[in-house]
Chain length 107, copies 2
DNA sequence: ACTTGAAATAACCATATGGTTATAATAGCA
DNA sequence: TGCTATTATAACCATATGGTTATTTCAAGT
C-alpha cells in the first residue's frame, strides 16, 4: 500500500459515522437499509459513506436479491495497522536537501 | 482512547503532508523551519499542520531557544494501531435496535 | 531598548466534505 | 408488463479543510 492509498484509507476511517460502520461490520455484515435507522441519517448519506469505504477497499460488496450486503475487508484494516507500524523511511530526504543546500540546521 | 479521540487522531494522519511529517519525525525530531523547505509550503501552513498533530497528541513540542522542536509521540501512534485492532463491539447496538423495533431484517 | 529570527495567529479564499431532497437504476414479484 | 423495495446518483447547501499573506508573539543578541 503506497502513501496515497494509505492516506485515502485513513480519510475513509477518519469520520465518526464511517468508523462506527466499520465497527459494526466487524461484528457482522450489513445491508444499507439496516444501517440507516442506526445512524439516523438518510439512505443516500449511508450510501455515500459505503461508496467511500469501498473506494478505500475497506469493505466488500455483494448483492443478495435487492439488497447489497457490505462486509468488512479485515485484511485491508490490517494493512493500515501494518503501514502505520512501518512508516516510510525519509532519512534520505534530509540527504537530498543537504545536497540542494536546503537543509536548515537550527542549533 | 475513545472513539472521538481516535477519529481526531485519524483525521490528523489522513493528510499527505502530515503523514509525511509523521514519517520524518519517526526518523528524527525537527523544528518548523526545517520542514518548510521540505514541503514547499509556507511557514504558517506547516505551523497549522503541527498544531493539528499536537492537538491529536501525535507530536510533542519542546522549545530550544527560538526554535520549537517537534518529536513524534510514538506511544500515541501505537495507541491508534491498537485501537484499529480492537474496534468497539457493537453487538448490543443490534439488540437495542431490535427492542425499539428498528432492526431491519433483510432476508 | 532595539533589532533579528522563529513560530503562532488572524483574516481570507478555493476546494473538499457530509448532509439534504429528488430522481434514476436495479432486482423481485403479482 | 407493471408495481414495489432497495440502492445509487444528481444537484444542491453549509461547514470544514488546507493553503495564502499580513501581523503578532516570543526568545536571543547587540
Amino acid at each position: 500500500m503506497d502513501t496515497k492509498q494509505l492516506v485515502n484509507t485513513l480519510k475513509a476511517l477518519a469520520d465518526p459515522t464511517r468508523l462506527k460502520i466499520v465497527s459494526l461490520l466487524n461484528h457482522r455484515s450489513c445491508c444499507v437499509c439496516e444501517l440507516v435507522p442506526i445512524f439516523g441519517i438518510s439512505q443516500p448519506a449511508v450510501s455515500k459513506h459505503m461508496s467511500k469505504l469501498k473506494s478505500a477497499d475497506l469493505v466488500l460488496e455483494s448483492r443478495r436479491g435487492q439488497w447489497v450486503i457490505y462486509s468488512l475487508n479485515h485484511e485491508r484494516l490490517e494493512q493500515v495497522r501494518f503501514a502505520l507500524g512501518s512508516l516510510p523511511d525519509y532519512s534520505d530526504e534530509f540527504e537530498r536537501l543537504a545536497e540542494q543546500g536546503l537543509l536548515v540546521t537550527c542549533e
